[in-house]
């Protein structure tokens, strides 16, 4: 059990773009930090510790915890780096939660960032996989995701058109989010007519590469309600890893999100997640995951994901909107991506999501996804946990 209850009291994001040559990494980080401090009405002096991360190999520059201190505000403070691949952002959130929940730190600044424009994303991702057994045929994130989609389609009969419907949803939602990189609606026909990258994934089914940063401030129950009248309380966090090599994966089902969300529901006493959760910011790097992973999350029965998507239930105005921000398909500064899901879920709970606000949010779920099919999950709530 945590020693202290923990809440998010402020968030900040850059306006994410495909290329930000006007700033270096440290300056990009500073933009997000300044916005988070302003949002919480705090100064850097109020911050007790900094948790920061990205995927070093994307920029080819190591140790952001050290070189970013001018921009991060970490000068002469405890700073720690966490980096876990695609889940980096959500792991940062979970790490920051642990800092505050332990009772050792009262106010913690959490920063995720990436400048994907500074290198070749597919090449860099490849270096995260085993040189002996994985790399011969490996082709970056898309190859594993394509294998997942093929396996699911063979088993449950979903189609490329079903997946396109998910992409249409997220790209439409992104138009409400000024921070999203891609804000243009597309049709199902557009998605299906876009170039095939790796069967069955089309260009418009997948996430872009983005430059951007996100900062989140977490505070303990001793001060959270003094900082903001509407804190976003972290009810539970969970994380699961299962596989070593891509060939080990149980393709077509995401075991890690099933187990991690199961732990979350148990901790929070949630029995019917589809009814009790009001909004989800899903780390969904491609459209098919929007069908497959909502089944693993226990929101719908196995094989019913596509039907649920077509019903409109996950659209804005539906019974369980997914990715009001536009999600990862619209914006993907990789080391920040998981933390953006967390920040967006916090905005929903705090009632600060503006044009993308879902009404009356009591519980929000945010997730992170990475490399060899691993998962982080956080549950956010309006009410202070018991």
């Amino acid at each position: 059990m945590p020693k202290k209850r923990v809440a998010i009291v402020g968030t900040g994001q850059t306006y994410h773009k495909s290329h930000r040559p006007d700033v270096n990494g440290q300056e990009l980080i500073n933009e997000a930090v300044q916005r988070a401090l302003k949002d919480a009405d705090l100064t850097i002096k109020d911050i007790d510790a900094v948790v920061i991360g990205n995927m070093d190999h994307f920029e080819g520059i190591n140790y952001v915890d050290c070189w970013s201190v001018d921009g991060s505000g970490g000068t002469m403070k405890p700073v720690i780096k966490l980096t876990t691949g695609g889940t980096t952002g959500s792991t940062l959130a979970i790490g920051g939660y642990h800092f505050v929940a332990s009772g050792l730190f009262e106010r913690v600044l959490i920063i995720g960032w990436e400048k994907n424009s500074e290198s070749d994303t597919t090449g860099a991702i490849t270096t995260a996989f085993d040189p002996v057994w994985d790399r011969l045929v490996f082709a970056g994130a898309i190859s594993g995701l394509a294998a997942e989609a093929q396996a699911y389609m063979a088993k449950y009969g979903a189609t490329e058109k079903d997946a396109a419907r998910v992409s249409v949803r997220d790209r439409k939602h992104a138009c409400n989010n000024p921070h999203a990189q891609l804000r243009r609606e597309v049709t199902i026909e557009d998605v299906l007519a876009s170039p095939m990258l790796a069967d069955p994934i089309h260009l418009l089914d997948v996430c872009p590469r983005t430059d951007g940063a996100c900062a989140v401030i977490m505070a303990s129950e001793d001060c959270a309600e003094k900082i903001t009248a509407t804190p976003d309380w972290i009810w539970a966090t969970a994380n699961r890893h299962k596989y070593t090599y891509l060939g080990d994966v149980n393709w077509g089902e995401l075991d890690s999100i099933a187990e991690a969300s199961g732990e979350i529901y148990k901790k929070a006493g949630i029995r019917e997640p589809g009814k009790e959760i009001d909004v989800i910011e899903l780390y969904q790097p491609y459209s098919f995951a929007g069908i497959i992973w909502i089944e693993d999350l226990g929101l719908v029965e196995r094989g019913k994901g596509a039907e649920y998507i077509w019903s409109g239930a996950t659209d804005m105005g539906g019974e369980l909107p997914v990715n009001p921000s536009g999600g990862v398909i619209a914006c993907n500064p990789i080391g920040a991506t998981g933390l953006i899901r967390c920040a967006e879920a916090a905005l929903q709970v705090m009632g600060k999501a503006e044009a993308r606000q879902v009404p009356d949010v009591n519980f929000a779920l945010s997730t992170g996804f990475g490399g060899c099919m691993w998962t982080d999950v956080l549950l956010h709530g309006k009410k202070k946990p018991d």
């Binding site: 490849t126 040189p131 045929v137 170039p195 990258l197 994934i201 299962k242």
Partner: protein, 156 residues
């Protein structure tokens, strides 16, 4: 850097400054592949799962595995994709040979999938469940390229 016989990573004749260990289990797999064209897995005595590539520890049971068992060389396509977008292979600095078939092969007797190229000469035959066999390289060095690719076989 001189090119060594057992190099895992080579860029058109040039070695790269990495020296990865494959371990005793990996060495045994590659020796059998090179010398006898046999593929080896290792079986967990607790849960019975056969792992390819072989490794020392079953992650689920967290016990050491010692029972090597021959798998394949034939199998079925567990899942796959066909890569169509061009990208630079960081291993070689050259463009990957797109389009290419990326197979996750369930070798006969194995509980995991083995990743390798699948020949896509006839794309209509590339389906989950299709029978495949490996095509071995004539000159084998004891690495994963000793198999050139897998190809779909019919009439079995």
């Amino acid at each position: 850097m001189p090119v060594k016989e057992n190099l895992i990573i080579e860029s058109t004749g040039h070695g790269q400054p990495f020296d990865y260990a494959v371990g005793l289990y990996g060495s045994r797999f590659f020796s059998e592949l090179r010398d006898k064209r046999r593929l080896l897995g290792v079986k967990c005595h607790k849960c019975g799962k056969v792992y390819v590539p072989p490794r020392r520890v079953c992650g689920d049971c967290f016990v050491e595995m010692t029972e090597f068992t021959e798998v394949g060389p034939k199998g079925v396509i567990g899942t796959f994709t066909i890569l169509r977008y061009a990208f630079i292979d960081p291993e070689t600095g050259e463009q990957k040979p797109v389009p290419y078939g990326y197979g996750f092969i369930r070798l006969d007797g194995a509980g995991t999938l083995f990743q390798h190229y699948i020949s896509i000469e006839d794309e209509s035959k590339i389906k989950i469940g299709a029978r495949v066999e490996p095509v071995f390289s004539e000159e084998r060095k004891g690495n994963v390229k000793d198999i050139l690719y897998f190809r779909v076989i019919e009439g079995e």
